[in-house]
Amino acid sequence: MASNAAVPFWRAAGMTYITYSNICANLVRNCLKEPDKTEALTREKVHFSISKWTDGKPEKPTLRSDSPDE
C-alpha cells in the first residue's frame, strides 16, 4: 500500500477533506454553461430543520434553507 508521507496542502492549512470537496464542487458548478449552471446551483442549497431540546423535550423546530456562503 502507498505510504502517506506528505499531507495535502489543504490539510496542512487546517482544512478537512469535506470542506475541500465542497469548495471544489462549488468552483466546478460556477464554471458551467447555462442551463446546466442554474440546475447545478440548485444542488448547493441545503434545507434543514433544527429544534432545541430543553428538559428532555424538543421545542418547536425552525426550518432553514441556506444558500452556501464562502
Binding site: 496542502f9 487546517g14 482544512m15 464554471c31 458551467l32
Partner: protein, 103 residues
C-alpha cells in the same frame, strides 16, 4: 487503461479535480469530476463516488479562464494559510478544467 493486481484484491483512492474516462469497448466517455473517491472491488468492479461529475461539453471555457486569473491573483494577495489553501484549490480546479478542455 491500467489493471493492477493488488495483493489485497481491493484498492481505493481519493480523487482530485480532473477527468475521468470510461472505456466501454471502443467508446470512451469523459467526465470532469470535482472530487470524490474510487473503490475497486476484488471482482474488478469499481465504484466512483463524486460530488459533481459532468460531461466535458457543459464546461464554459470563458468562465474557466476568468476563474484561473481570479484565483492566481487571489493567491498572490492571500495572507493566512487558509486563504492561500483556498486560492490554491481554485487554481488547481481551473487548471484541471483547462487540461480537460485542451487535452
Amino acid at each position: 487503461m491500467v489493471i493492477v493486481p493488488a495483493t489485497t484484491g481491493q484498492m481505493g483512492a481519493e480523487l482530485k479535480p480532473g477527468v475521468l474516462s470510461v472505456h466501454e469497448g471502443n467508446e470512451t466517455s469523459k467526465y470532469f469530476v470535482s472530487s470524490g473517491f474510487v473503490f475497486i472491488h476484488a471482482n474488478s468492479f469499481a465504484d466512483i463516488i463524486a460530488v459533481e461529475a459532468l460531461p466535458l461539453h457543459q464546461i464554459d471555457a470563458n468562465l474557466v479562464q476568468k476563474g484561473l486569473a481570479e484565483f492566481t491573483q487571489k493567491l498572490s494577495s492571500a495572507t493566512t494559510d487558509l486563504e492561500k489553501a483556498k486560492a490554491q484549490i481554485g487554481i488547481d480546479v481551473h487548471s484541471a478544467f483547462n487540461s480537460a478542455l485542451t487535452g
